[in-house]
Amino acid sequence: MNSKAEKFDVLVADIEQTGNKWFTKEVIEGDEYGTVVYHGRLEIHGNSLPVFIVLDNSVFSYIRVAITTTSITAAAIKKVLPKLNELNQQYKVTKYYVNDEDSNIYADISVPTTDDTFEPAVLVNLMLEVIKPHLDEVHPDLLKIVGQAK
């Protein structure tokens, strides 16, 4: 556990009072950084994308969105890397990459903050007001490039 997660818990409790069970909390046992992961979902054009909000004792808090949930092929990786590079250059907030272990595309949103200045609402607002509209715009094209468009 860590002090940012304690603050985030308060926000999650507030959200849950409205009947919204948006986040599931996972405490990583025995982790030296006291890491806590909040699992959620973002609905993008009928796709339910897994979201992980990762908080620990370091200054590096981040949001991770799984852009694909089915591994993409080696040929698709080759095709999509130039597009990911273009997005990485164009948008300040998001960073796209293909994870070597599961061959899925992820977008990370890094939010460096100290314990004192950590504002949990900022993360949720960022997700709903910046990341969601951004993914609404770029996600269909990414799925098309990797051959996973519905």
Binding site: V59, F60, Y62, L81, P82, L84, N85, N88, Q89, K92, V93, K95, Y96, Y97, V98, N99, D100, Y106, D108, S110, V111, P112, T113, T114, T117, E119, L126
Partner: protein, 146 residues
Amino acid sequence: MNPKALAFDKFMKAEEITAFERKDFEDEDGTVVYRSYIKSPLWDMPLFVILDNSIYSVIRLVLGPEKVTAQNMAAINALINRENATYKNYKFYIDEQDSTLYLDCVYMCANDEFIPELMYALMTSIVDYIPQSVGDLKNAFESNIQ
């Protein structure tokens, strides 16, 4: 001028940091750019700190100035993807307009929550990253895979 630049100036004065040359832009965002460079066995890498009235503060390192070619592009793309997956706070990308490899580190916060010490710590972590990555960078820049 912008409040973050004021705070950053104050911090650098207190810490007696003189490595930066400052340039003010007369734009609507009150942009201030601080310029320095990191020495590396490959070449000197220009480093910029870009502060303005938006919630984004950017540290930008020019890792490979005009060093990306058709020959090394595949290796550099592979390196970029690996480093982007590894380092939480760094973002690597190629600007094809100037054939240059960049490393950005974005620090998001409101003007009144800007902590120059944190900004400087992020910058220091980039300075520390260079010696440990220079071998991989050299291999990628010198690669010739079609």
